[in-house]
Amino acid sequence: MDVLLTIFVDPFLDMFSDPVFFMEVVVTGLLTGVMYSLVALGFVLIFKASGVFNFAQGAMVLFAALTLVGLMERGVPVWVALIITAGVMTILAVLIERLVLRPLVNQPDIILFMATIGITFFLEGFGETVWGSDIHPLDVGIPAESFDFAGMLLNEFDVYAAIIGAVMVATLAIFFQKTAIGRALRAVADDHQAALSVGIPLKTIWIVVWSVAGFVGLVAGIMWGSKSGVQFSLSLIALKALPVLILGGFTSIPGAIVGGLIIGVGEKIAEIYWGPLVGGAIENWFAFMLALVFLLFRPQGLFGEKIIERV
């Protein structure tokens, strides 16, 4: 009986007894959620446009951040470093298209997925060989003062992250819906052969998509890196993006945001209020278990599309 109370009643009592703290937890969770969404966006982009589930998104985040930090540490000014890194990510996209995507163009999805796992490992190893595996602090000039808001202790940085996240989502949504390239991307995601047959240049599209995903990864890398330093564990964050996608739907940009927010908040609340009961570190797996539960009831996610099979 006691145990049941401790699990099902006490945490809620805690929440109500200190509502300001609870709000702080929620807001922190939301802001972490935005960061997850940034990473998930990259996934959605690539999946929407090429049907490939890019496990390497996290490694791309890490690689972009490592390159940026590496350049800055060698004295390159911020803006130049940003431009160079963006260029590097584009070159990376070209290489990936040429060396991995093109040879595997008609293979089943699972093969492509495993290839992206290969890319992940390669990028991680390569990045660390070139730039070293220490933790690199990153400062691109985003203000990071703490401030008080309605009794809650928040940080300017997180607010900036939220704004940047919102801007990215809006830009990408418009890009996909309103531009010609966006339309072409959606055509490619639907059916490679059909897209080819109406003259859509598959190669170019893929390079565009992977570059854009690379930029998104760079932004995500900057945000995460500024917050906790650029290090190997960044790529593990990408794993967290997978539950975000399950919640939001693999093909939905708004879904990536909503999913990220839910995961961010859920994780934080679980960790703060239930964590102490079991020794902490619930954050390691909460997101995944939540995704598992979602799989039971709504596998296509909140905003995803149901696929009709044809025989």
């Binding site: 293979q107 495993m114 290969g118 991680e124 660390e128 570190a281 278990m289 799989l295 025989v311």
Partner: protein, 358 residues
């Protein structure tokens, strides 16, 4: 000339369906088993057995497990480490709780525990296709690793959080614990792995294996001819988890002796995945080849530069290792998705015709 099958006619279906229908293959297998059971333990020293052969066997077993699920049934799992952990920790608990229990029974029970956990995670996620199972198995991986770390009951409340295999003996030999020699542990592991590999081979050539492959190749058609997708996938998952569980138990008892949850991290899951891909999806032999390859690369990387008079820092080695694995995965997926096993097959086919080109 050596490898011709000419003259080897099968007069009944049984001999046609044997695991090694060609006589030369049977000889080869017999010799290989002889070498494995007799030559290696006598010739190899303690280090080679402990650091190379035993881990190779254990990972080969885990690779067979993952291969059954991924290579034969087409379902991707990233939770191999987690299921090995279930095997390791449940074997520990059984061995401690029932000191008189035969170790083989302990291993079998630990496998069953892993299979049970596999089913629990499989049921919600096998109803849908694609990468969802990958995410569900990631959930299993992280959750299980956390569970064995945080819940002190699993490691008998000892302060260091590690579990240590209690000394046990079989047929008069110490098989676990500090007294057990590397030779004895090697023979035990070898025997278990050989038997389980044989069982796996039998499963894949029977109707269970065929239904797995049918689901892998075209699950809609499979369902229409009466194969039940859910049950088939679940059986693959359960059996695969069983194998991984036993591998985990062996890891604790016959290889490392003492283990903490880090040994069953997501890195192990990826390692085994690499072994499956490089060795060959859908091949039992490939599982051995892949495991052999991946377990030997770190050793090569440690020793090779020294042979050339160069020194490579440890962490640089690790980075190189990771890069090499990543590139190899991509290379094999592009060039030969059926991995080393297929290359081996092609070699055999060429041997059949040798010295003729075709």
């Amino acid at each position: 000339m050596l490898y011709r099958e000419a003259g080897q006619f099968k007069s009944n279906y049984a001999s046609d369906q044997a695991i090694f229908p060609i006589a030369q293959d049977r000889w080869f297998m017999a010799v290989a088993l002889l070498v494995a059971f007799v030559v290696i333990p006598t010739v190899f020293d303690e280090y080679m057995l402990q650091a190379v052969m035993i881990p190779f066997l254990i990972f080969a077993l885990a690779t067979i497990g993952l291969n059954l699920l991924l290579g034969y049934c087409g379902q991707l799992s990233l939770g191999t480490g987690g299921f090995m952990a279930v095997g390791g920790y449940s074997a520990y608990k059984f061995a401690i709780a029932f000191p008189e229990m035969n170790m083989i029974v302990v291993f079998a029970l630990s496998g069953l525990c892993a299979a049970f956990v596999g089913i629990m995670f499989g049921v919600p996620s096998l109803r849908i296709k694609g990468f969802y199972l990958a995410v569900a198995t990631l959930a299993a991986q992280f959750f299980l690793q956390w569970l064995f770390n945080k819940v002190a009951w699993f490691y008998n409340y000892n302060s260091s959080g590690t579990i240590t295999a209690p000394p046990r003996e079989m047929f008069g030999y110490m098989i676990t614990g500090p007294e057990a020699t590397a030779e004895v542990r090697y023979i035990l592991t070898l025997s278990i792995v050989v038997v389980m590999a044989l069982v796996a081979k039998n499963l894949v050539r029977g109707h269970i294996g065929r239904s797995w492959m049918a689901i892998r190749d075209m699950d809609i058609a499979a369902e229409i001819i009466g194969i039940r997708p859910m049950q088939t996938k679940l059986s693959a998952f359960a059996i695969s988890s069983f194998y991984c569980g036993v591998a985990g138990a062996l890891m604790v008892f016959t290889w490392l002796g003492s283990v903490e949850t880090e040994a069953f991290s997501i890195n192990e899951s990826f390692q085994v995945l690499f072994m499956v891909i490089i060795g060959g999806l859908g091949s039992i032999l490939g599982s051995f080849l892949g495991a052999a390859f991946i377990t030997s690369v770190p050793i090569l990387l440690t020793n090779l530069p020294q042979a050339f008079g160069l020194e490579m820092a440890i962490d640089l080695q690790k980075h190189f290792e990771v890069m090499i694995f990543g590139s190899l995965i991509i290379f094999f997926l592009i060039v030969e998705p059926l991995g080393f096993a297929r290359l081996w097959q092609i070699t055999k086919e060429k041997l059949r015709l040798w010295p003729f080109p075709y």
